[in-house]
Symmetry: C2
Subunit: 390 residues, 2 copies
Amino acid sequence: MIDQASLLNPAGDGVTGLPGHQFVSTQGLALDCGLSLAPYTLAYTTYGQLNADRSNAILVCHALTGDQYVAEPHPVTGKPGWWDILIGPGKVLDTDRYFVICSNVLGGCMGTTGPSDVNPATGEPFGTNFPVITIADMVRAQAQLIDHLGIDQLFAVIGGSMGGMQVLEWAARYPTRVFAAVPIATAARHSAQNIAFHEVGRQAIRADPDWCGGAYQIAGKRPHRGLAVARMAAHITYLSEPALHRKFGRSLQAREQLSYGFEADFQVESYLRHQGSSFVDRFDANSYLYITRAMDYFDLAAEHGGQLADAFARTPTRFCVVSFSSDWLFPTAESRVLVRALNSVAANVSFVEIPTDRGHDAFLLDEPEFHQVLDGFLSGSAELRGLGRR
Amino acid sequence: MIDQASLLNPAGDGVTGLPGHQFVSTQGLALDCGLSLAPYTLAYTTYGQLNADRSNAILVCHALTGDQYVAEPHPVTGKPGWWDILIGPGKVLDTDRYFVICSNVLGGCMGTTGPSDVNPATGEPFGTNFPVITIADMVRAQAQLIDHLGIDQLFAVIGGSMGGMQVLEWAARYPTRVFAAVPIATAARHSAQNIAFHEVGRQAIRADPDWCGGAYQIAGKRPHRGLAVARMAAHITYLSEPALHRKFGRSLQAREQLSYGFEADFQVESYLRHQGSSFVDRFDANSYLYITRAMDYFDLAAEHGGQLADAFARTPTRFCVVSFSSDWLFPTAESRVLVRALNSVAANVSFVEIPTDRGHDAFLLDEPEFHQVLDGFLSGSAELRGLGRR
C-alpha cells in the first residue's frame, strides 16, 4: 500500500504525486469565518469531454471521507472509484455524453488545500491554524474551478450525504448555473444527533496524544488510534440495524466458540476494526475535524433568514431529491422538509424514497431502483437541455 | 466530589468505605469461561423489611453503568438513586410493603468484585487478568446472595436494559424462585449493532495510552479520555433523535454566533462532553470493558439449544414485558421476539409498548404510563402472592 503522505507532497515542494488535475486559485477565497485563503489549490478529476456548447458538465460532489477519485482507482488504496458503478461510458453518468468533474473539497487531504498543507505565513503545516471552513466555502471554491474551466452553467450537480449539502448550496447560491440538481441522502441542515456523532469522532481524535494539539505533522506523529475510533463510530451510522443483522448477526469470526476475551469474537467487531484501521491509511485526522465541522455548521435556512424556502425562491433548477428508507443518519423526513420547501416556491422537483435495508451507505452501492431514478431524471433533463436523446 | 478510588478501598485492606452491605461468598463461583472466582464480594443495598414469610423481596437489577444505589444518594456523585422515582415508601416499589434488594453486578466497580480489585494470586489489581464474566455469572452470584438472605423465592425480579437481561436469565435459570419478572427495554440477545457500538467504546478505552494494557492502576494512571469517548458514543444511543432535537436542536451554547472553531458551539456538544467527563469520576474503565462484553455475549436462546422458547418451558413465572416506542437500542421488535417465545410456551405474559420520544433512557425517567403499568402488574401479582391489597 502506498502511504498517503508520500503521495501528497513527495518532494515537500507543494506539488503532489497524485493523479488528476490541480487548479490553483491566486484570486483566493474570502471564507465565511472572516479569514481569507490565498492562494489555494483544488485537486480534481474529469471524465469525458466538454462539448462545444460547454453545456454537458456534471459536477459530482463527494461525501465526508470521499475524494475526487470518483471513477478511477484510488491512488492510495487501489480500490475502484467510489461511484465507479455510476460513472463511465454507457453508465448512468455516461462519459460518452457528459463531462464529469469531481474536486476534493476545501479542507480535504487529497491534494486540495487543507490543514495538512503548509501555511505560507509560518512555513509549517496549518494543523488547527487552518481556518474553519463551511459547505458554502467549499462550493464557492468549486465555482472558481468551474469558472476556470470556462463553464457558465453546469448541466447537473449531484452528490450524496455531505455531497448533497453541496448540491443544495450550489442550487441556492448559483441558481442560474445549475440546470439540474440531485441531492441524495442529505438534509438542509445537520441534526442534533448527527452533530453529536461527529463530536464523538472529534473527541476521539483529540483524545489521542499523537494528535499533539493538532500539530502532529511537526511532531512526526499521526493520531491513528483516535482517527480509527472516530471512523468506527461513524461507520455504524452509515449502515442500518437490519443490514448489520443480515450481514453479521451474532456470527463469530474465525472461531467456533466465544473466546471469553477481548479479541474480535464477533464478525461485526472484526469488520469495524478493519474499517477503522484501513481508513487511517488514506485520511488525515485534522481534515476529519474540519470537514465534520463544516457539516455541523450547515444550515441552509439559517443562511436565508430562517426560511428554507427563501433559499430557492424563483429557482429555475430542476430537482430530483432521493432518500433511502433505512437511512437513519439522513432519514427520509429530512428530504421531505426539503421537498416541502421546494414545493412552496413552485420549484420543479421530483422526490423518490428508495426502499432498501442498506442504510445511508445505499447511495454508494448497487441499488438498481436508485440508478434507474437517476438515469430517468438525467435523461429527461438532458433532452430538455438540448443534449439530445440517449 | 468524592473520588471513587478513595471510597472503594481507602485503607487498601479490601474493606470499602462505601455505604450499604457486603456479602462475601467463600463458596465462590464457577464461571461460564471455565475459571472460578473465590472468594468474591457482592456489594448491595436493601430498602424496606423482609416479611416473616420471606415472600416480599424484589430484586432490582441494574444496567451497564448503574449500581446498587438505586434508592439513595450516590456516594460518589451525590445524585439521587437511579430509580428513586420508583422506590420508596408509597412509591410503585413501595418499601412499606416490599423488601427491595439491589446488588452491584459481578465485574462492577462499586464494591462488588471486579477488575479493579486485587487478585489474591498476584497481590496486584486484576486488570485484564480478571476473568470474562457473563450475564449468567452475574445472576448466579446474585442467587448466592439471595440464598444468604434466606429467601427461597423472590416476589419479583425487575430491571431495564442489561438489568432486563438479568431478569430473563433469572426467570430461565431459576423459574421457581421468581414469582414475577419484569424485563424492561431489553432483548433476549444483544444485536450486531449493539455489539458494534460496544466495540467502539472498548476500542476508545484501549486506544488511550493511559489504559496501559489494562494495568493502569499499577501505573498510577486512569484512561479518562478513552472512557469519556466511550461514554459519549454510548450516550447518543440512549436517547432518541426526536428527544435530541427537542432538547437541543441546533441551539448554541452560551454564544450568539458560531465560533468557527472546535469548542462546544452547540448545546448538544456541551451536553455530551459533560456526560463523558462526569462519567469518568464514578466508573472504572476495565469494568466498562467487562460489563459491555457480558452484554455482547448474552444470547438466551443459544444457552438453550437455539430455541428461545425452551428457556421458558413450563415457566410458572408471571411476566410483564415493557418496551418504549422510540428506543432504538432495544427496540420494541426485540420485546416482541421475547413475547412470542413466552406465548409459545403458554407463559403468563403481558406486554406494553410505552409511547414516548425519550428513547432507551425512558426506563429511568418520569414516564407516568410506564409507572402505572408497573404498579398495576406488581399490585395484581402481590395479591396473587398473598401479599394483600395495597
